[in-house]
Structures are given as C-alpha cells and as structure tokens.
C-alpha cells in the first residue's frame, strides 16, 4: 500500500485517539471536581467532538479529495449541528424545570 497514505491514516487514528484520551482525562477530572454544568462546558464538549467528526469526514472519508461542494456540505452539517446543539442548550437553560 502507498506508504504515504498508510502513514497519514495511522497519524489520523493516533490524533483522534489522543483527543479521545484527553476527553477521558477532562471528563474524569470534571467528575472528581464535581464541576457544575455550564454553557462553556457544554460548548467545549460538543466543540471537541465536532472537531473529531470533521477530522473523520475529511481524512477517513476522503472528503479532502472530494469536489469542493461535498466539503462545504459536510462542513455545513458540522457547523449547523454545533449551532443547533448550543442553541438547544441555551433554550433548555432558559426553560429550566423547577
């Protein structure tokens, strides 16, 4: 197999795993410290996940080689998802129960 490609794929996997490990660390610290939920924490968790998603789409799914339109569409999905989830969080906080 093309050595350059092989290297790149391994690199992507390592990067994604490293981010996941960081999520594990941050999550554990959050649990131990008993951090109160906040918009910043929510945005952070969603943001990191969406960065991973975008890496998967561009690298593993080869969108970086695809016509620009497909890249735009998938990026649009990433951005809209982030915006909608953040909006949902803010709306939920505004209409909090009790």
């Amino acid at each position: 197999m093309n050595a350059g490609f092989e290297k790149r794929l391994i690199g992507v996997w390592l990067a994604l795993s490293a981010i996941t490990l960081a999520q594990l660390g941050i999550g554990s610290v959050g649990v131990r410290a008993g951090l109160a939920p906040s918009a910043a924490l929510a945005a952070g968790a969603i943001g990191i996940a969406l960065i991973k998603v975008r890496i998967i789409i561009r690298e593993f799914m080869e969108v970086r080689h695809a016509p620009v339109l497909l890249g735009r569409l998938t990026d649009l999905w990433v951005v809209l998802t982030g915006a909608m989830l953040l909006g949902a969080h803010l709306a939920g906080t505004a209409f909090a129960k009790g």
Binding site: A66, L70, M84
Partner: protein
C-alpha cells in the same frame, strides 16, 4: 490501478450514499438537540444519572470504532491500488473491530440493566438507551454493508470500487455519529 493523482477530485463512493449521510446526519442532529435541550432543563437529574455510566468503557468503545474506521479506510485504499487480498483482510479487520464494539456495548448494557439502570429508569437513561440503541442498529446494518464490500472484493468479476467506497462511507458514518454520542452521553457535563 494506481492511486488517483491528488489534483483529480472525486466523490468517494456513490454520491447517493452521501445524500444518506447528510440526511441521516440531520436526523441525528435533531435527536441530539432534543437530548441537549432536555438535559439543560434538568441538569442535576442528568448529572446524577450520568454517574451510572463508566467513562472508561465509553473511551474503549470509541477507540474500537476509530480503529474500525482506520481499517476500512485502508481497505478502500488497498482496493484502489488493486491489492484485493489486503483489502479483504482490512474489511475483515473492520468487522473484528466492529464486533469488539458490539460485544463491549452489549456487556455494558447488561451490567447497567442489572444495576436497575433501565430504559425507563429516568430521563437520562431513556436518552442513553435510545441514542446508543439506534446507533447500535446502524452498526448492525454496517455489518451488512461490510459483507457487501467483502462480496465485491472476493470475485474478480465484481470488484466495484464504487460499491466498496460506498460501504466504507456508511461505516465511517457509524463512527462519527458515535464520536458525538460519546461526547454527549459520557463526557458532557
């Protein structure tokens, strides 16, 4: 067949599958939105219930699916270069990683249900089982997609690169949806 030169842009697999990825992606965005909204409405309840989940298992599951994405990407590249044997091996490797995820997920559910953390236990648990359950269903369909890819790779008479790429695109979708589910259910506070 040589790898396509960098300058030539192409859609991996059928564009039709990309329509599915985007549409189903938006359906999931909607599910996630309802979850995040409900969560923000009763943050304490969700946080308390979330303690039933083991972050480490979620981490392990994520690694398994990321690895499966890696191997299926190798499968596509190998098939593109004409090394069908390597492509088939990687497809099976993907199934193996997928299977590791499947077993781990099932085990996790069983342990949680035994602890009384069931679908109807509380609001968070309902979302947890719903999101992981619907994702699990996509995973099961993913095995069908991989089987189609292997079937294509097996015989020189078939070997449609387009279909192999289409199946891989579906499989990656399972992966990236899980990445979001992991963040929303296990990590988010």
């Amino acid at each position: 067949m040589n790898g396509r030169p960098e300058v030539v842009r192409f859609v991996p697999g059928q564009p039709d599958m990309w329509a599915f990825v985007l549409f189903e992606g938006f359906v999931f965005t909607a599910y996630f939105g309802v979850y995040v909204f409900s969560r923000a409405r009763s943050p304490d309840l969700f946080l308390e219930s979330q303690a039933h989940l083991d972050l480490r298992i979620g981490f392990f599951n994520t690694l398994a699916l990321l690895a499966s994405s890696w191997s299926v990407a190798r499968c596509v590249q190998a098939a593109r270069e004409g090394s069908y044997r390597a492509a088939t091996t990687n497809a099976f490797l993907t199934m193996l990683f997928g299977f590791v995820f499947l077993v781990s997920k099932l085990r996790e559910w069983v342990v949680e249900i035994e602890q009384g953390f069931t679908f109807t236990a509380d609001e968070f648990s309902s979302f947890y089982y719903f999101l992981t359950g619907i994702h699990f269903l996509h995973l099961l369909i993913g095995f069908v997609a991989l089987a189609v890819a292997v079937y294509q790779l097996r015989s020189p008479a078939r070997r449609s690169q387009e279909i192999v790429e289409t199946c891989a695109t579906y499989w990656h979708t399972i992966d990236f949806l899980w990445v979001l589910i992991f963040a929303l259910l296990y990590v988010m506070r």
